[in-house]
Symmetry: C2
Amino acid sequence: MASGNEEEKKEQSTSKTRILIAVSHSSIKGYPHASISSDTAFHWVLDKLVKPTSSSIGHRREDFELSILHIQVPDEDGPDDDLDSVYESASDFHSMKERELTRGLHLLEHFVRICDDAKIPCKAWIKAGDPKELICKEAAKLQPDMLVLGSRGLKTMQRMFVGTVSLYCTTHATCPVLVIKRKPQDTPDDPMDD
Amino acid sequence: MASGNEEEKKEQSTSKTRILIAVSHSSIKGYPHASISSDTAFHWVLDKLVKPTSSSIGHRREDFELSILHIQVPDEDGPDDDLDSVYESASDFHSMKERELTRGLHLLEHFVRICDDAKIPCKAWIKAGDPKELICKEAAKLQPDMLVLGSRGLKTMQRMFVGTVSLYCTTHATCPVLVIKRKPQDTPDDPMDD
């Protein structure tokens, strides 16, 4: 049986607005860093929702809880890094996986550090597989109040070739989905990049 | 030149999170009332974003500004109401338009009244035409921080026949777009209804 304090804690916890945000690596050289659209979406959430803007300084961050999810895909940054590698044994593959995990952890560290500095409660984790399916699966498991996704804002023809995670999740996730496009001035030379 | 006070006011105003929410009539008999997905989306915004949940009671509502948009489409509730009508003169068409406008105003009144009761600043207006195009056009004009849309959450095959306003706006609007599906238990007998 829950004590009075625990009941109170539970009540307090469910009244928070729980946000799940999916983040990804940049496909542009100069790794490690977050993709433009992930960074745009993350900072939008902080600036427009979590951080205080009125006289209630310091209060709104208590009302939100951030979950940061990174889906690791083997070729997310292109296979260039490993093109010249020779895999001679199982341990070579093991170290490749270790490198990928380290990259993922660096990415999460980037976002968790920002939350820590701003004193925003957060948790972060990595899953490996197909981003669009895993994001929906994790959202179904976590049942956040809102799923936030950055988007490259590709045009119709571009979308036909690459598909988009954000449109898939908007139709398939059961929770509310917020799609945030990167700003036009942030679009890299190749808009497929991010 | 703006005075110090005006500058301060401008700064205060731009620091608010400005939300544009598009609302529609219900297609289910028993008019006038709001569609299930509009009501779901509207109350989500109030409960999860605008209304205070922590100790900062009364503060968060100062941080948000709601704009409520209704797009009037001539046959949005089906042509049944007018099937038995005989149009004998231009004035008959005029009174039909007047009736439609009155219905639209009743819809907006429903939402504005809720904002008033909760002391949330809001404004509301009606446009007539194609919903998906006009919502994007108004969003481009207003440049809100976020566009909020309710959605029926139709399955792939259903979407093929009716298309969806929310997917169009998610890809075409330049501002962040939040799509909120109605709850499964709120789905009417015919899921195309809303």
